[in-house]
C-alpha cells in the first residue's frame, strides 16, 4: 500500500513543480511509508469487528466516578489507568498503535454506569473499558457489556460469585484475601475466637460468610457478627460488645466514611491496636483510606491484601516512583489502584498474543497471560478470568503505610465460586 503511494504522488507532482520539490515529497512519503510499516499489521487484519482502531491509534474507555460519593475511591484507579496507558504509549503502544482514551464519569450512580458503558461501546466503539469500582456499578455494566460483547477490566477486590466472559477481574475475589488472612492469624498469632464486623451490603456479608465457614472448618469460634448501615458514625455500642466478648481477632470489613468513625472511636475507647488485644484484621482499609482515618488512629492494625505501597521489589519501586512523579509526592497507592494499573497492561499482553483487537480472539488467549512487571510481583490470568496472585499481610504504621509482615509462598488460586462457602 505504501509503495504505490510513493510512485503516484512522486510522479504527478514531479512533472509540474520541478525536481527539488518532487524529491522532498518523495522523501516525505518514504518516511510516511516506513512509519506505517512500523505500525505493524494492517487494521483490516487486527480489527474485524468495527472497533475504534485506525492505522496508528486504538481507542479505549475509562469509566469511573469522578464526582459523587465514590470519587474518593475511584480517582486513584483513574490515575493508575492513565499512567499505564501513558507508559504503554511511550514504549511503542499496542500492535504499533498509540492508545487514546475516552473518559466518562459514572457519577457514583449505577444507572449512569450502564448508560455510559453503552455510549462507550456503541458510539465510541472502544476496544476495552477500564472501569467500575463498586459491585453495584459492575453489575449495572454487566448486561450492557455482555450484550455488545465488550471487555471490562475491573480493579476492585470483591465478593466473587461472578464470572463473566466479558470481564477480567484484576483485583482479588473474596477467598484469596480472606482465607490467607485468617490462616495467618491462626498460625502466627494463635487466634481462637473472631468477631466479624462489616458495613451492611453484599461485599462484607459475603466476605463474612466465607470467613465464618473457614473459621468453623478450622474448629475455631465466631463470637459475634455485626453489620452497620453505610455511613454509620456511632460505634460505641459495638465497641462495648467487643470489650465484653474479648475476641482474639476483630475481622473488619467496614467501608468508606464509617471507617474513620470506627477507628477514631476505638482509639478513644482506650483500645491500643499495637497491643493486639484484640488483634484487628481488616480487608477494607488500604493506604487510601488511612489518609482519611489518620495513621495515628490505625497504628498496629493488620490488613490482608495483595498489594501494599511499601512492597519491596524493583517493579514496585519503579511504579511508585512513576506514580509520584506524575501525580505528586503526597500520593498514596492502595491495593485497588495497583490492580487498576494492571488492566491496560494485561489487555496489551492479550491483544499482542492474539494478534488482534477483536474481543472474541482476545478471550481465547486470556488463560495464562502473564504480567511479570506487575508492581505486586507477578500475576497470571486464570481460566476463570480472575488473577493468580499472592496475598500479603501488612501492619499499619503511624505514617499511613503498611509494613509487610507475611506473604503467601505460592500464588493464591482465584476461586470465585468456592464450594461450601456460598
Amino acid at each position: 500500500m505504501g509503495t504505490t503511494e510513493i510512485t503516484a504522488s512522486g510522479r504527478s507532482i514531479g512533472k509540474g513543480l520541478g525536481f527539488r520539490k518532487s524529491l522532498m515529497t518523495l522523501a516525505a512519503s518514504v518516511m510516511l511509508a516506513t512509519s506505517a510499516q512500523a505500525a505493524g499489521p494492517s487494521t483490516a487484519e487486527v480489527n474485524t469487528t468495527g472497533l475504534a482502531v485506525t492505522d496508528d491509534t486504538v481507542t479505549v474507555g475509562i469509566l469511573h466516578s469522578i464526582t459523587g460519593t465514590m470519587a474518593i475511591s475511584e480517582i486513584g484507579s483513574v490515575q493508575a489507568e492513565k499512567l499505564a496507558i501513558e507508559q504503554i504509549n511511550a514504549s511503542g503502544g499496542v500492535l504499533g498503535r498509540e492508545i487514546k482514551y475516552v473518559q466518562e464519569d459514572g457519577a457514583s450512580d449505577w444507572p449512569t454506569f450502564a448508560e455510559k458503558s453503552r455510549k462507550l461501546l456503541r458510539q465510541d466503539d472502544v476496544a476495552a473499558i477500564f472501569g467500575a469500582w463498586t459491585s453495584a456499578s459492575r453489575k449495572a455494566i454487566l448486561p450492557v457489556i455482555e450484550q455488545y460483547n465488550g471487555m471490562l477490566y475491573y480493579p476492585t477486590f470483591y465478593e466473587g460469585l461472578e464470572q463473566s466472559p466479558n470481564v477480567i477481574y484484576t483485583g482479588q475475589e473474596a477467598t484469596q484475601q480472606i482465607l490467607a488472612g485468617i490462616d495467618w492469624a491462626v498460625k502466627e498469632k494463635g487466634a481462637k475466637s473472631f468477631y466479624l464486623l462489616g458495613s451492611d451490603y453484599i461485599w462484607p456479608r459475603t466476605s463474612n460468610k466465607i470467613a465464618r465457614k473457614h473459621i468453623d472448618k478450622l474448629g475455631l469460634k465466631v463470637v459475634g457478627e455485626e453489620y452497620y448501615p453505610l455511613g454509620h458514625t456511632q460505634f460505641n455500642s459495638v465497641i462495648n460488645k467487643i470489650k465484653l466478648k474479648k475476641p482474639d481477632v476483630i475481622f473488619a470489613s467496614v467501608v468508606g466514611g464509617s471507617n474513620v468513625a470506627f477507628y477514631k472511636q476505638m482509639k478513644a475507647a482506650g483500645v491500643d491496636f499495637t497491643e493486639e488485644k484484640p488483634l484487628l484484621l481488616t480487608i477494607s482499609v488500604t493506604e487510601d483510606e488511612i489518609r482519611g482515618i489518620g495513621g495515628e488512629n490505625v497504628e498496629g492494625i493488620y490488613a490482608s491484601m495483595k498489594y501494599f505501597q511499601s512492597l519491596d521489589n524493583p517493579n514496585n519501586q519503579e511504579f511508585v516512583a512513576a506514580f509520584k512523579e506524575t501525580y505528586g509526592d503526597d500520593m498514596v497507592i492502595g491495593d485497588v489502584t495497583q490492580a487498576a494499573y494492571l488492566g491496560p497492561w494485561l489487555w496489551k499482553a492479550a491483544v499482542e498474543k492474539a494478534g488482534s483487537f477483536d474481543i472474541d480472539k482476545i478471550r481465547e488467549v486470556f488463560a495464562g497471560i502473564e504480567f511479570k512487571k506487575a508492581p505486586e510481583g507477578y500475576v497470571r490470568i486464570h481460566e476463570n478470568h480472575h488473577l493468580w496472585s499472592k496475598t500479603r499481610i501488612g501492619r499499619a504504621q503511624t505514617d499511613g503505610q503498611y509494613q509487610v509482615v507475611y506473604e503467601t509462598e505460592e500464588l493464591m488460586e482465584p476461586d470465585p465460586f468456592p464450594e461450601g462457602y456460598q
Binding site: 458514625t233 460505641n236 455500642s237 462495648n240 466514611g257 464509617s258 474513620v260 477514631k264 478513644a268
Partner: protein, 308 residues
C-alpha cells in the same frame, strides 16, 4: 448472652453503654439544633444542613494545618479557635445564602427543599474541587484522644465527654438566646404572626437572615466537633442529614425542647437496641417506633398548640 460474665463486668459494660447512649444523645442535639432553629422557626427545609456541617469540619481541618505549621506550641488549643472560626464562616455563608436564595422562597416551602438540595450538591462538588475527593484526616491534639480510666473496665472516651460539653453549652446558649433575649422575642413574634410583628416595627427580613445565619453557624460548630468522631469528606454531610431530620420532626418542628427530648429518646432507644441486636436491625426498629409515634402524634412529641 450474659453467661460467664461476673456481675462487676456486666455493671461496667452497662455503665459504658449508658455513656455511649449519652454521647449519641449529645451528637444528635448538636446535629439537630441548627436545623431545628431554621426549620422550626422559619419553616425552611434546609437540605444543605449537612454540607454546612462539613464546611465547619473543613474549617477545623484548615485551622489545624495552620497551627501545625505556624503555631505548633499552641496546637493543644487550636480546637477552640477552630470552633469559633467554623461558627463565623458558616454563619457568614448562611447569611449570604439567605440573601441570595432563601428570602425569595419563603412562601414556597417545597421550593426551598429543592433549592437547598441543589445548594447541597453545589457545596459538595465545591469541596471536591477545592479539597479533593478524598477524605482529609484532621489531627487532634493529644489531650483529646484516649479515655478516662474510671475503673479497670470502665473507660470514658475524652472526645465523647468533650462533645457532650459542647452540646450542652450550645443548648443552653440557644435557650437563653431564644427565650431570654430581645432578639429571641422578636424571632418568636415573627414566627407567630409576621404581619403583626412587622406592624410593631420589627425588621422581619433582618430577623430571618440572622436566624438562618445562626442555624448555619451552629451547624458549623457541630461539624467542627464531629471531626473528632467521624470522617471529613465532600459527601460526609449526607450521613447526618437523615438522622437530623428524624430528630427534629419527631420532636415537633417548632419546639426546641421537643428536639432535645426526641434526641434523648431516639439515642437511648438506638444504643440500647444496638447492644442487644445487630446495628442494622436496631436502626430499623428505631425508625419503626418513630413512624408509629408520628402516626399517633403527627405534630411530633412536643407540638406547640397553634391556632389554625
Amino acid at each position: 448472652m450474659f453467661d460467664g460474665y461476673t456481675s462487676s463486668e456486666l455493671m461496667s459494660i452497662f455503665a459504658m453503654q449508658g455513656f455511649a447512649g449519652l454521647s449519641l444523645f449529645s451528637v444528635f442535639v448538636l446535629m439537630a439544633m441548627g436545623l431545628a432553629i431554621i426549620f422550626g422557626q422559619m419553616g425552611v427545609i434546609n437540605m444543605a444542613h449537612g454540607e454546612f456541617m462539613i464546611l465547619g469540619a473543613y474549617t477545623t481541618y484548615l485551622t489545624s494545618g495552620f497551627f501545625q505549621s505556624y503555631l505548633p506550641s499552641l496546637f493543644g488549643g487550636y480546637f477552640f479557635v477552630a470552633m469559633i472560626l467554623a461558627f463565623l464562616i458558616c454563619a457568614a455563608l448562611g447569611a449570604l445564602v439567605e440573601w441570595l436564595m432563601i428570602r425569595r422562597l419563603y412562601h414556597r416551602p417545597l421550593d426551598t427543599l429543592l433549592a437547598t438540595w441543589g445548594l447541597s450538591l453545589i457545596m459538595q462538588q465545591a469541596y471536591r474541587s477545592i479539597f479533593g475527593a478524598r477524605e482529609v484526616g484532621v489531627e487532634l491534639p493529644e489531650w483529646m484522644m484516649g479515655a478516662f480510666q474510671v475503673t479497670d473496665l470502665v473507660e470514658l472516651p475524652i472526645n465523647g465527654l468533650f462533645v457532650m460539653i459542647i452540646a450542652l453549652s450550645i443548648a443552653v446558649g440557644v435557650y437563653l438566646l431564644m427565650y431570654r433575649s430581645g432578639y429571641g422575642k422578636k424571632v418568636r413574634a415573627v414566627v407567630q404572626n409576621r404581619p403583626m410583628a412587622e406592624a410593631v416595627g420589627i425588621n422581619s427580613a433582618g430577623i430571618d437572615r440572622a436566624t438562618f445565619a445562626l442555624g448555619c453557624g451552629i451547624a458549623g460548630i457541630a461539624g467542627a466537633a464531629f471531626t473528632m468522631i467521624g470522617s471529613t469528606g465532600p459527601s460526609s454531610g449526607q450521613a447526618y442529614i437523615v438522622d437530623t431530620f428524624l430528630v427534629v420532626v419527631f420532636g415537633g418542628a417548632q419546639s426546641l425542647i421537643g428536639t432535645i427530648v426526641s434526641a434523648f429518646g431516639i439515642s437511648q432507644a438506638q444504643s440500647t437496641m444496638e447492644f442487644f441486636l445487630s446495628g442494622s436491625m436496631a436502626k430499623v426498629l428505631t425508625l419503626l417506633v418513630v413512624v408509629g409515634i408520628l402516626m399517633l402524634r403527627p405534630e411530633g412529641l412536643m407540638a406547640l398548640k397553634v391556632r389554625r
